[in-house]
């Protein structure tokens, strides 16, 4: 009675519409956002400043909300499919744009790095999805790279009540797990010249959710040397493993 989840269903859209109803195909450049990462507080009062934020992902997908309506029903054969809407939140949508491949998104040292050209259909976009994966040597990582063999790597400083803790965090997420529904609000038309920048949002500006909610850096430092390393197996890792998957910490902006 197990069900196969996380799979995609090909969208079978109506055929036979007039050519004038064809959605237009455009190519837009995609890069890692180069904006300075916001310093923010977690729910336990730690102010966190990141000096490293890297994430291994695969296959960026750009979605419109719901199904394509009949007026734009004739679509080229490359239209990909529909992301499963997560029951519980309406973050699904038809995937009408994609940039395939494996990427390491580095929001500190790699801001502005070009990832490639996304194939998009014209339309009103509302979401970004991508898959998590394990970073490998094929990503150009050396044997000493802390991201090697993991999905995410963060480093920075946490401050609270005059105390300053330097931390690193390696995060493991099952390969193939999807991040679904990050914010991406943009009308893309045939003449669109947008440059799409993939954002990392350590603190969700709407609900104030921090990537580090639940992490008490003092509790992680029993020897009091103000140096903390969060690794898989730690309870703090379990907190981070969840928040890293949350769509509220990512977005797409038009640069």
């Amino acid at each position: 009675m197990m069900m196969h989840r996380g799979m995609f269903v090909v969208v079978m859209l109506g055929l036979g519409c007039a050519p004038s109803q064809e959605a237009q195909r455009v190519q837009l450049e995609v890069e890692v956002d180069d904006a300075t990462l916001v310093i923010g507080d977690n729910d336990l009062g730690w102010s966190i400043e990141l000096g490293a934020a890297r994430l291994a992902v695969a296959d960026l997908q750009f979605t419109i909300l719901g199904e394509m309506h009949e007026a734009s029903a004739w679509l080229p054969s490359w239209v990909i499919g529909r992301a499963w809407a997560h029951p519980g939140h309406l973050a699904g949508g038809d995937v009408t744009g994609e940039l395939t491949g494996a990427f390491v998104l580095d929001w500190v040292a790699g801001g502005g790095q070009r990832l490639g050209s996304a194939e998009m259909l014209t339309g009103t976009y509302h979401g970004l999805n991508f898959g998590f994966r394990v970073a490998a040597a094929s990503d150009g990582l050396t044997g000493e790279d802390p991201l090697l063999g993991h999905t995410a790597y963060f480093a920075g400083t946490a401050r609270k009540d005059g105390r300053e803790v330097v931390f690193t965090a390696q995060v493991d997420i099952d390969a193939g797990t999807q991040m679904v529904g990050a914010a991406f609000d943009l009308e893309i038309d045939r003449s669109e010249q947008a440059l799409l920048a993939i954002q990392f949002v350590p603190v969700d500006p709407i609900e104030g959710l921090s990537l580090f909610d639940g992490v008490d850096f003092a509790a992680l430092d029993p020897d009091g040397d103000d140096v903390v390393a969060i690794v898989p197996g730690d309870e703090a890792h379990n907190f981070l493993r969840r928040t890293v998957q949350s769509h509220v910490h990512y977005g797409v902006v038009d640069r």
Partner: protein
Amino acid sequence: MLRRGLLCVLLAACSVDAGEVEVRIYGEEFIEEGIPASVFADGWSVKFDSFLISVGAVTVAQAGDSPGLAAPGFQVLELARPSLGLGQQIASGRVLAGRQDDVGFVVGPDAAAVASEVSAQELARMTDGGLALYVAGSATKGGVTKRFAWGFPTRTRYSECESVAEVAADREATVQLTIHGDHLFYDDLYSETPAVRFELVAQADVDGDGEVTQAELLAVDLRPLPNYQVGSTGIVDLWHFIAHQTGTLGHIDGEGHCRNTAEE
């Protein structure tokens, strides 16, 4: 009825092949008889005393065609009632011959739902309470028993269900809406290989009265745990985790898949 009548007229006029399709809903042995300890990764077993479901908006079609059968009204049924493996009928009608591989249905609250062999009290529990599902029962491990009685107001549309029912001319075929009760106890929302567990639910009974309540499940913080992963949903407590799983129970003809979409 008018729609069905019109279909019959059209079918006769065109001399096309048609047959009968019957739609049944079935909770399998897991809901009717219980989920044995062998299924659970942590040694618990579960027996449902009640598994009320509000289901409607049933459609049966061949992919690419409009539905040959549509039963929009909602019914409340007791899936824990023994059915000798047959399940319970919720709709029937005459459709064009062929494979009925585009079935849809909704599991959700409906104030106008009608009883299908349930008591007036059970019907009122669902309609007045705005419930899609009501599950009550007990879990046992060793000498410990934990009771539960939970109502869920969630609404899930199951569509594009790939039924294998093949209707032949002047023959009858059955489409089975299959409800998987074990999914309520999965320990991951998106893993391809989740385990079935009850231990965390049992531990939620902090007052030790033997009954695990909604309030106690809401108080369970999932965030420190290595399992009970929630993907992008933002779910942090066990109640909403289980409520989310209610949107994954529906299948078709046993293990067949549907697109499942939460509706607000």
